[in-house]
Symmetry: C2
Subunit: 318 residues, 2 copies
């Protein structure tokens, strides 16, 4: 029921996923869902809206689609949940109903940042925890590494700590203390710590997992979104500015389209909430049917590969 | 003596500035400067290198070009200093030799972020203070507003606080406490506070001054740099990918070149350190002669307009 294009695009995506061999259960108001195309529907009479306060909403709307979806995962009726709705409420629903993986201090959002020509960079935490401790960031490094292995098949993900200079002494107290812990091997042998990275490294293939607090991570995510939208619009404007450029732009389309597709957030199907005891996929609020198909696939693959058990091992390793 | 292309490009830029009617004094090692083209040279035998530790270097290299340049401003021999060298050492030199404006808690770096079709957005603090208090951010709002007025002629600059959601309750403790102070009018009537903004707003014309701590600000700056470089390279690659696209690219150049120029950091000549008792321009390490001309112009205009006195009034207003 959540997302800017719900429920139509969500249901369309679910049907496409089912046709592609990824079984889907819908959760929501049967009347608003309409024709479910033969998919099972778990009824939920309430909807947590995009503007609802997450903490209040999950306490008051017990029959919401978000809480019912999280319960379906908890009860083993579903292997993963996917939501394009209120991000805070999605996290709270997953946390309250599935619980945390034993040993995890705080779940974190892992968002793949597209790097054309290479595997995406995992940004963690992309917004779950506005304030973090160094020990939590060490766990984000562990969980992010396990996720990069499962999701993109990277054998030894290179983990960078986001700071404002390469030297260990650069950064705010959180970055400096986290650097000391990671450099001392506190994350265990499964984490390949390469030191500090900077904002300019996120969209390059020089790092696989970028660790930061949820405030900084969310600022980076939104800054990249804004910059890419800006660049995209600026190029479109240039292409359409004169008769000559409009004619020329046709010759460029075959080269520009694959890039646009690789940069489209819908391609990766959304972020994953790591650290809860179940698979929870957080899709962009503007998710299209295509984004939902990809999100269902990400959830399916994570469940099939045993991501949650891999995360459990990762945080227990030290 | 500082910067990736020093001293050749720096001297070339100084000569061009002088020819344009902006008088320049060079500070540095006369032997390495070579032909100064008739410009006055204040000799300095030492150089603070890009990799030097700023705090140590300004204590040990008393005859460095950075400290001598800051002394020239302090002593009234120069109206402003410009450096493309070690940023930390530039700040320390300015702070130690010029001192702070009375009442300023911490100087901050104000960096213009290009917004094609509009005036740039001032990002403050772009990296001077990795850790900040809410009261300092209130001063950044005051100083950033005064600077936006002087530098870009914006009568009532709209000030946004960088956070991870528009609602006042969103963000880390620093953002939430600063929001409360700014919303209560603590910055005085000269600051038009519009509330929280997000990373995606920085490159738009919806805000004139974006206030944040130096850690987050520097991450945003580097993230934008990386994203713009990425987009630029991706478009160049698409233009050069086939015979057809190479032929088409000529027709597109007239439309793309003005955009590239507007986005070029050299266009704005660098950032300004606000809060020290003198004008200090911090240019990009890779500054070309063109960037230096623009930096000299920015310094000249700031001095002529009385920026330091405007900042003094701005922080004293409350």
């Amino acid at each position: 029921m959540g997302g800017d294009k719900a429920p139509a695009e969500i249901v369309a995506g679910a049907l496409q996923a089912a046709e592609a061999g990824l079984p889907v259960i819908l959760v929501g108001d049967p009347d608003r869902i309409g024709d479910a195309g033969g998919l099972e529907v778990i009824p939920a009479s309430e909807v947590i809206e995009m503007h609802d306060d997450p903490a209040k909403a999950v306490r008051s709307k017990k029959d919401s689609s978000l809480l019912r979806a999280a319960e379906a995962v908890r009860d083993g009726r579903a292997s993963a949940m996917v939501s394009a709705g209120n991000t805070g409420a999605t996290m709270a629903s997953a946390l309250f109903r599935m619980g945390r993986i034993s040993g995890v201090a705080r779940p974190a959002i892992a968002t793949p940042i597209p790097v054309p020509g290479s595997t995406p960079t995992i940004l963690i935490d992309a917004g779950a925890n506005a304030e973090c401790s160094p020990a939590w960031l060490v766990q984000f490094a562990q969980m992010g590494s396990a996720f990069a292995r499962q999701r993109f098949g990277i054998a030894e993900p290179r983990v960078g700590l986001l700071s404002i200079g390469e030297e260990p002494g650069k950064g705010n107290p959180l970055a400096k203390e986290t650097h000391a812990l990671l450099a001392a091997g506190e994350a265990g042998p499964a984490v390949s710590f390469m030191g500090n990275v900077e904002g300019r490294d996120v969209m390059t293939d020089s790092v696989d997992v970028v660790v930061t607090d949820g405030f900084t991570g969310n600022v980076v995510l939104k800054t990249l979104e804004g910059a890419m939208r800006f660049a995209f619009n600026a190029v479109l404007e240039a292409l359409g500015s004169t008769d000559e450029s409009r004619a020329a732009s046709e010759a460029l389309m075959p080269a520009l389209m694959p890039l646009a597709s690789e940069l489209d957030p819908d391609t990766y199907g959304g972020a994953v909430l790591l650290g809860v005891d179940g698979v929870c996929i957080i899709s962009h609020g503007s998710s299209s049917a295509r984004a939902i198909v990809n999100a269902v696939r990400v959830g399916h693959q994570a469940a099939a590969a045993g991501l949650v058990d891999q995360l459990r091992s990762a945080v227990a390793a030290t």
